[in-house]
């Protein structure tokens, strides 16, 4: 178990290094940020001076080496636009994104799994088919358009919810969160729902498929032969079996939700790292882009790692090994 964890950790670090190189390579090939930061009327001397000051005249590999060593110390450069450490910018905005992502996941799980269960138990009933049709609609809807519709309905027409921004925040363990305030919840509702929609549909379909498969298994028949109530058969026997693959999928999808938050943040002007990324791309603020990508990649790798370990913990067959006790 320990050996497995260490090996996965090693693999993860390797992937991290490779990704950092790719990210660096890609981002540093974009245009010329000098154009952005220097007075357009500046002459060549000015530009040369600015270039040298920012270290942009060194060969690529040397830039990467410097970058890597600085990165190991947590210094990912300063934003060209804001002139603060890039990593600081990202970390400032990250809690907002994470809050949005978690809220969306919670909604997706709370609604998706029960619906999927219902659809899987009675696939050919009216309810089952409606849920399935609904799920197709759910992941066909372009999320940005749904955001627009939500704003249209709830902000413009009904005036119930604010169309953009994040609400009041309070400090929870030193991190500002907004879901603990009523105003915060009002601001969180639409973006979280918007973000949740796609994942919700996927979860419904996954749960339905897993349930359909599980119900055909012999242990379900045996459980019924024991005279167990249908509630127990579904709620304990089936649920425990399908939760294992579903939990792993949820874990993996969490990373994807953080990425998709970029779109939601743009629509609802949610002050998270996604919006920061888009702005940075448009402004060619390389250090911020790099910092963002590295932070995201790290989060991803961490999530993958945790999910792998979690899977082996949850499934007793993996955890305890197939020791034939006789």
């Amino acid at each position: 178990m320990l050996a497995f964890a260490i090996r996965r950790l090693g693999q993860s670090l390797f992937v991290l290094v490779v990704m950092s190189f790719l990210v660096f390579l890609g981002v540093y090939a974009i245009g010329n940020p000098i154009e952005l930061l220097v007075n357009p009327q500046a002459d060549a001397v000015e530009r040369a001076r600015a270039t040298a000051a920012l270290g942009l005249d060194r060969p690529m590999l040397e830039q990467y080496g410097v970058f890597l060593s600085k990165a190991a110390h947590g210094d990912l450069g300063r934003s060209f636009v804001f002139n603060v450490p890039a990593i600081q910018l990202i970390l400032q905005k990250l809690p907002a994104t994470l809050e949005l992502a978690f809220a969306a996941m919670v909604i997706a799980i709370a609604i998706g799994i029960p619906l999927g269960l219902a659809a899987g138990l009675r696939p050919n009933s009216y309810i089952g088919r409606t849920i399935m049709a609904g799920s197709i609609l759910g992941f066909s809807l372009p999320s940005f358009w749904v955001g627009l519709v939500l704003i249209m309905v709830f902000s413009v027409q009904l005036g119930w919810l604010p169309p953009n921004g994040r609400g009041e925040t309070v400090l929870l363990l030193g991190v500002p969160v907004s879901f603990l305030t009523w105003d915060g919840l009002r601001h969180l509702a639409m973006p979280a729902l918007n973000l949740a929609l796609f994942k919700l549909s996927l979860l419904v379909r996954l749960t339905r498929a897993s349930t359909r498969e599980a119900v055909l298994q012999d242990y379900v028949k045996f459980a019924r032969a024991k005279g167990l109530s249908p509630r127990r058969v579904i709620g304990v026997h089936v649920l425990k079996n399908i939760m294992i693959p579903i939990v792993t999928v949820i874990g993996l999808e969490l990373g994807s939700v953080i990425a998709f938050a970029i779109i939601t943040e743009s629509i609802f002007a949610w002050p998270g790292s996604g919006k920061l990324l888009i702005d940075s791309i448009n402004q060619l603020d390389r250090p911020v882009i790099v910092a963002y990508l590295l932070v995201i990649v790290t989060i991803f790798i961490a999530i993958n790692f945790v999910v792998d370990v979690l899977y082996s913990v949850l499934d007793p067959r993996v955890r305890l090994g197939a020791a034939a006790a006789h």
Partner: protein
């Protein structure tokens, strides 16, 4: 006496008296879902619109000569102040007829989506077959790359690529292809591996049939069913991704406005109640995606032997 215990009686395969060609059987099974047929019909209509856009649009929205700024931001159903022609879905801030804009936009979205899918499929197919056939190192390398890529969300990869490459139709297609090829490669490889282990491939190798022959005539046809399903779904994903990227301002340039750009254009007018500039393009996109997904779902059920009851 066999050892197999029965659980439920198996209905034996339908008698061979009805000699149907595989295509007709496939069509019949597909048609079992009314929803899928509906999706297919919708898809045909949408593709027709996209193909015939220049001829059936009331107006060419990109011909500046035809636009009248006086007609800008008219709600749906209003008539032009100058020509008296009706604008069925309203106009945008430049006076462009939304309906025409949507027709042309669909065209671009579909072309980009399908093109990138086809290219990605070709690349993925080649790499997947190579991985399955050669095995060993080749397989490991290709699949490692594919796996690492697949563990990151498509939008992130696309964003980074676009940030690096800049804007333009060709660059969008490159991004979309990069994002997609791994799905095809993986699917093809799995199917090909299953097939490769079957005995008749061994027999063919023993008979020293040339490699390309083995690959093309034996491995390939069996990879097709899952590939078709994946490709159909991926077209929808490609279209959605392109729309999202265009919405974010990183996708197609303004000279070739896809649906995503139309939607993002109208975003600023949303809060003042002029919803139609964003709303209707979104509906068009939605219908396209739903149609594709309905068809894809039924294809998956029909082509997947494991789901056959």
């Amino acid at each position: 006496m066999s050892v197999v215990a029965e659980k439920t009686p198996q209905a034996p395969p339908a008698p061979l008296a009805r000699e149907q060609s595989p295509w007709r059987r496939f069509a019949a099974e597909f048609a079992e879902s009314r929803l899928a047929l509906f999706g297919l019909a919708m898809l045909v209509v949408i593709v027709a619109i996209a193909v015939l856009a220049p001829w059936i649009s009331p107006q060419n929205p990109y011909d500046l000569a035809q636009l009248d700024v006086m007609d800008s931001k008219l709600p749906p159903g209003e008539h032009s102040a100058t020509t008296g022609k009706p604008y069925w879905l309203g106009t945008d801030d430049q006076g462009r007829d939304m309906l025409s804009g949507i027709f042309y936009g669909l065209r671009i979205s579909l072309v980009v989506g399908v093109t990138s899918t086809v290219i990605a499929l070709a690349i993925g197919l080649a790499l997947g077959l190579a991985a399955a056939y050669f095995g060993g190192r080749v397989d490991a390398i290709i699949m490692r790359i594919a796996d690492i890529q697949l563990s990151f969300p498509a939008i992130l990869i696309a964003l980074v690529l676009l940030a690096v490459l800049g804007q333009g139709v060709d660059k969008i297609i490159v991004s979309l292809v990069t994002v997609q090829w791994a799905y095809y490669a993986r699917t093809v490889r799995s199917a090909a591996l299953v097939e490769r282990q079957k005995e008749y491939i061994e027999a063919a190798r023993v008979l020293a049939l040339s490699r390309p022959r083995i690959v093309l005539r034996h491995l390939l046809p069996n990879c097709l069913p899952p590939l078709i399903v994946v490709a159909t779904v991926q077209v929808a994903h490609a279209i959605q991704l392109e729309a999202a990227l265009s919405f974010l301002g990183l996708g197609l340039p303004i000279t070739e406005p896809s649906i995503g750009l139309l939607i993002s254009n109208g975003f600023q007018y949303l809060l003042s109640g002029k919803y139609w500039i964003s709303f209707y393009p979104g509906v068009a996109l939605l219908l396209t995606i739903v149609a594709i997904n309905l068809v894809a779902d039924q294809l998956r059920d029909v082509l997947n032997p494991r789901l056959k009851k």
